[in-house]
């Protein structure tokens, strides 16, 4: 075996810049909700799925979402389970691209902050600055790139910070204690706590790991901590919010959308979760 390379991460241009001290619009809105005693609810909608997806976004906003994740479909979504894979594939088949989705978002006027959830290659391919700028121009406040972990986030984060786009980072149950403070320090908007070992999708019961990761994160940050992956029902949302500041609900909503409930049905489901959280 050869001697390890003498190139350092800094020389490779891979240093991770500190997150800006000032919270952006997404984090500010979520903090305000939390400070007002509200449990935070962030539904996920796949951009480009169905001709009425923008109506779905507006419906879930009206039903009490605090922010909305907009999925920009990618050909190889490795963090996603069957429901979001199916929605992504169908959206791609229907011709959805980052350009068409951002174009539609520009005029959506949802009244709550939006965060795009997609995979890194779409940003890398377009170019970090161009992608970050196009998000900002479309009025998108945040970005979630689940295949871009802390060590690789530097070049993107630099461009996103400059454009005023908040990069949400994921924190997983597998992270050792020393890693979590570094993740939350770089996270903007909110900290996305991965509720279980696995990909997105509905589960019969809330995984115990959801509460554990939320508790570990709350101990090291005052940024909003939202649990996603495997939060499927109003009851599960209430349960996880006994510790977390809020929840992300994706597959449970998109399954209903795939079944054809339309904007009204999507809004009704989100309203149901909202009511359960408010009553808790």
């Amino acid at each position: 075996m050869t001697a390890p390379s003498s190139i350092t991460a800094a020389e490779e241009g891979l240093t991770v810049p500190d997150a800006p001290a000032e919270p952006g619009t997404l984090e500010t809105a979520l903090r305000a909700g939390r400070d007002a005693g509200r449990k935070l609810l962030v539904p996920y909608v796949t951009g480009g799925y169905g001709t009425d997806w923008a109506e779905v976004v507006r419906a879930v906003a009206d039903a009490g979402a605090d922010a909305i994740e907009i999925g920009v479909p990618f050909s190889d979504p490795v963090m996603d389970g069957p429901v979001i894979q199916a929605a992504s594939e169908e959206a791609l088949r229907a011709g959805a691209t980052p350009v068409t989705i951002l174009e539609e978002l520009r005029g959506i006027d949802a009244g709550v902050p939006l965060a795009v959830m997609t995979y890194y290659n779409l940003a890398f391919h377009m170019g970090h600055e161009r992608f970050a700028d196009s998000l900002a121009e479309a009025g998108v406040a945040g970005a979630i790139l689940p295949d871009l972990p802390l060590e690789e986030v530097g070049p993107w984060a630099t461009a996103a910070d400059a454009a005023g786009v908040e990069t949400v980072l994921l924190a997983a149950p597998t992270a050792p204690d020393e890693r979590l403070p570094r993740v939350v320090a770089r996270a903007r908007g909110f900290v996305y706590a991965v509720g279980l070992l696995g990909v997105t999708g509905e589960r019969d019961a809330l995984a115990a790991s959801s509460l554990v990761i939320a508790r570990r994160l709350k101990a090291v940050t005052d940024k909003p901590v939202l649990v996603g992956v495997g939060v499927s029902t109003p009851e599960q949302a209430v349960e996880v919010c006994s510790v977390a500041d809020g929840v992300v609900i994706g597959s449970a909503l998109m399954r209903r959308v795939l079944e054809g409930v339309g904007p009204t049905g999507a809004g009704a489901f989100v309203a149901e979760v909202r009511a359960a959280l408010d009553a808790s």
């Binding site: 190139i7 963090m79 389970g81 350009v99 295949d147």
Partner: protein, 386 residues
């Protein structure tokens, strides 16, 4: 060693890295540490070398092909016979290494992706040998065209799960294997089958395959009076057999030529992109959506390529040629007829390039890595050739 270790972030030049979901970062870091430690441990190396010799049948021979050389108009052809390894391909080198490492790390279960089924069969074999649980993901399309290997894996005690998304080939099998690993990382090792994926895989898999190049270098020296071949060639999908043989000659004057299928030519047609944990050349559309490869060979039907190949191409140390399915079919028959060796469709790509460029190669010595045997492809060829 002729090929250097990647940078601390797992890069070969600008390519490589570790683009995985946060859940898998600790597992990749643990794997890197465990591999580094094991690879420096004489006991581990001895354990692996013993298995490679007594179980896999190494060293594999170097065969000089007189009739083929004549047929090609005077290209002196040497074949590195990875087809003679146990399980029928070079894949066993990497799999025995990873399975021993997984066991050393306390993992009890292996997951793998497979295209043609050779890596799946090798993984199922190692799992049977070491008493581990094994699950192999395989594109639904590939399960149909490689039904024999599906049966072999099941016979060996592995569970074979069809990948039903996307193009239902190798790329989608990788997605499914990664999704499995995200959920099972505590007791499971992802036994990745090529020099691709997140760091440390491209480096670790290369190291497990350097045995090919090391043996071939010594065998060539013996045959060529201490010399090296003029050209070293191998097929490239992810690129593990190519890196294995290139590693023995990267510090020589030998020309290194990787051969990709025209319908899956990541280096030839790709631009840099990020998928499956790595930055490398990638076939993609104008928005960065990964394109589906199209190749007669399930083992090379992949739109990406290992990051070190992208680097070797970028710095000009290796070059990458493309061949068509028709040229491959002709080469498959050529080797069978002239040498009595039925090659797998994958290494037939490398021979197809030699055959096409025979005039330019006349009088030169070409070492070709015959990465696997053709038994698995006979059914498919029977349909094509009638």
């Amino acid at each position: 060693m002729a090929l250097p270790e990647p940078s601390p972030s797992g890069r070969f030049g600008e390519f490589g890295g570790r683009y995985v979901p946060e859940t898998l970062v600790p597992a990749c870091l643990d794997l890197e540490a465990a591999f580094r430690e094991a690879w420096a441990d004489t006991a581990f190396r001895t354990q692996l070398d013993d298995l490679l010799r007594d179980y896999a049948g190494r060293p594999s021979p170097l065969t000089e092909c007189h009739r083929l050389s004549e047929e090609l108009g005077g290209v002196r052809m040497l074949l590195k016979r990875e087809d003679l390894n146990h399980t029928g391909s070079h894949k066993i080198n990497n799999v025995l290494g990873q399975a021993l490492l997984a066991q050393r790390m306390g993992k009890t279960r292996l997951v793998a992706e497979t295209g043609a089924g050779q890596h799946g069969v090798a993984t199922a074999t190692a799992a049977a040998l070491l008493g581990m649980e094994c699950m192999v993901y395989m594109g639904e399309v590939d399960m149909a065209r490689q039904a024999l290997n599906v049966f072999r894996m099941r016979l060996l005690g592995a569970e074979v799960v069809p990948a039903l998304s996307g193009s239902r080939t190798l790329k989608d099998a990788v997605n499914e294997a990664m999704r499995d690993w995200v959920a099972t990382v505590e007791n499971t090792h992802y036994c990745l089958g090529s020099v691709m994926g997140p760091h440390p895989y491209p480096w670790m898999v290369r190291e497990f395959h350097t045995v090919i190049g090391t043996e071939a270098r010594a065998q060539c020296a013996q045959l060529l009076d201490g010399g090296v071949p003029d050209v070293v060639t191998a097929c490239v999908g992810g690129g593990s057999n190519a890196i294995g043989i290139f590693s023995g000659f990267a510090d020589t004057e030998a020309e290194l030529v990787g051969v990709e299928p025209a319908g899956g030519a990541a280096v030839g047609r790709g631009v840099p992109g990020v998928v499956h944990g790595m930055k490398s050349y990638l076939m993609q559309d104008e928005f960065g959506q990964v394109q589906e490869a199209q190749s007669i060979s399930a083992g090379l039907d992949y739109p990406g390529v290992g990051p070190e190949h992208s680097h070797l191409s970028a710095i000009g140390r290796a070059r990458y040629e493309q061949v068509t399915d028709d040229e491959v079919i002709a080469a498959f028959q050529l080797l069978s007829r002239t040498e009595g060796i039925i090659p797998a469709l994958e290494p037939a790509h490398a021979l197809a390039w030699v055959s096409r460029d025979r005039e330019a190669l006349a009088g030169r010595t070409v070492l070709l890595n015959l990465s696997g045997r053709g038994d698995k492809d006979v059914g498919q060829m029977m349909e094509i050739l009638g």
